[in-house]
């Protein structure tokens, strides 16, 4: 993944060089940006995320938290991972959890205190199995790499539009020399193409991030059932999450940047609970009633009705 990213960046650099004839400046610059992004992502990833949402390590003297640690270790065995992820707790009334880390060996699982309070052992097992599946499937690495590519696209897009604006603005009064004009015109056209391509890419990038995030949620649900051989735990947990959605607010300290890591959307954006063209393109999580319906193998309309009544 990392190499694909580097390769993409280098290609983009070459394209820029070819357009402006400034080889090898563009290539070197973009590879440099890519390396910095990768290093920043890999070195401070889990630690940074865990700090940004204000979580703490578990206290093994507390019964619930020791039980949580046990569950994480059990499912580590089930998934055949070498080392159990670190376990963290964040103080929040909501029921939610997320996993982070680029390597299975250096990963972490974090749950809210609301989850410890409201879910029983079976349901917690389901949620942790979902998170362990994310780690096993290397979803964090995938999502971070896609985010990094997207970030670069946005950078290129901004740079291209800005310089285009600047060139057009500074070129207004000077129409005298024809020779110079054709050179500037060439650059303007090239910049315009670059800007359009980058804009298109970043839009596609955004849509594909959401699509990947949604598919990965379904995949982790399925893998969780494969690990626990029990769909009831996870579906029970999702039901409780759906019920609490209405009464409680957003998860504190969660941002758009970290939302896709959680088991259910911590920001409770309404787009994630709707269907239709827009929601299918821009939701980070699949609608919760759809996930429950798949786990319990019943039609989704029935689950939706039950949730609305309960």
């Amino acid at each position: 993944m990392v190499f694909v990213f580097l390769f993409l960046m280098a290609t983009l650099g070459l394209v820029i060089d070819a357009l402006f004839g400034v080889f090898p400046f563009g290539t070197i610059l973009l590879i440099f940006i890519a390396l910095i992004q990768i290093l920043a992502g890999v070195s401070s990833g889990p630690a940074l995320v865990l700090r940004s949402i204000n979580s703490r390590k578990i206290n093994e003297k507390s019964f619930e938290e020791k039980q949580l640690k046990n569950i994480v270790e059990e499912l580590t065995i089930a998934a055949g991972l070498e080392k159990a992820p670190e376990v963290y707790v964040m103080e929040d009334e909501n029921i939610n959890a997320f996993a982070t880390g680029f390597k299975a060996k250096k990963s972490a699982v974090c749950v809210t205190s609301g989850l410890l309070k409201h879910l029983n052992r079976e349901e917690t097992e389901g949620v942790i199995a979902h998170e362990i599946s994310h780690i096993k499937n290397k979803d964090t690495l995938l999502m971070t790499t896609i985010s990094a590519i997207l970030g670069t696209m946005i950078l290129v897009q901004l740079f291209a539009w800005r310089s285009l604006k600047f060139l057009l603005w500074s070129n207004r009064g000077r129409r005298s020399s024809k020779k110079k004009d054709s050179g500037v015109g060439y650059i303007i056209v090239a910049l315009l193409i670059l800007a359009l391509v980058a804009t298109l890419f970043s839009l596609i990038g955004r849509i594909s991030i959401f699509a990947v995030s949604r598919t990965r949620e379904y995949l982790a649900d399925a893998k969780a059932v494969e690990l626990t051989r029990n769909p009831k735990g996870l579906s029970g947990a999702l039901r409780k999450i759906a019920k609490m959605r209405k009464s409680k607010g957003k998860v504190k300290n969660a941002t758009i940047a970290t939302a896709h890591l959680f088991i259910s959307d911590p920001l409770k954006r309404s787009v994630n609970n709707k269907e239709g063209f827009f929601a299918n393109l821009f939701g980070t999580h699949p609608p919760i009633h759809k996930r429950i319906a798949l786990l319990e193998n019943v039609p989704e309309e029935i689950v939706l009705k039950e949730l609305q009544e309960g």
Partner: protein, 185 residues
């Protein structure tokens, strides 16, 4: 010249395929062995846990000596070891005795309120889960390995180097009969 080149190319491709297949079989076999040793680790954990548990609940369970003794005896047998078949059987008996103990435990509300017992019961539940998962993972790895040594054309390499299929870890008969206990803390 061209013919020789083609022949050399084909021989090289076959050779590379051979080496690749052999190595992947070896790594799959190692994975199975590793999964097996995981089961051992968890069984050992269970043996270590039982004396503490027995000491903690002894005082409360005056009328349940039999259940408790069954656990102690089954543990002694399992620790004694022997052939793999003997051990699997002994561990099966131990699982059965433990799940009966967990069921009995439900009948003693004063036990549930004891913090130490509660902790130990959680450890026991966790250990039982770990054993189940270790076994499940072992069986999954065995299935992948067994499938690959039987599939064509990998089976040619497997036969040549005598890769034997592994046996699945079936739950012992004693375990299957015991009712499933739902624990809610």
């Amino acid at each position: 010249m061209v013919v020789v080149g083609i022949v050399v190319a084909i021989v090289l491709i076959v050779l590379f395929w051979f080496v690749g297949t052999y190595n992947s079989l070896v790594s799959k076999k190692k994975r199975v062995e590793n999964a097996w040793s995981q089961i051992d680790v968890q069984l050992k954990r269970r043996h270590d846990l039982i004396p503490n548990l027995v000491n903690a609940v002894k005082g409360y369970m005056k009328y349940e000596r039999e259940t408790l003794e069954a656990v102690i005896n089954a543990r002694a047998k399992a620790v004694a070891g022997g052939s793999i078949d003997d051990r699997i059987k002994a561990e099966g008996e131990l699982s059965g005795a433990l799940s009966r103990l967990l069921a009995v435990f439900e009948r003693y509300p004063e036990l549930k309120s004891n913090e130490q017992v509660k902790q130990l019961m959680e450890e026991l539940t966790s250990t039982e889960n770990r054993i189940t998962y270790a076994r499940q993972f072992y069986n999954d790895t065995v299935m992948k390995y067994n499938t690959s040594i039987e599939m064509f054309p990998t089976n040619l390499v497997a036969k040549m180097f005598n890769f034997k299929p592994f046996v699945f870890f079936e739950a012992a008969a004693a375990e299957k009969e015991t009712p499933k206990v739902e624990l809610t803390f």
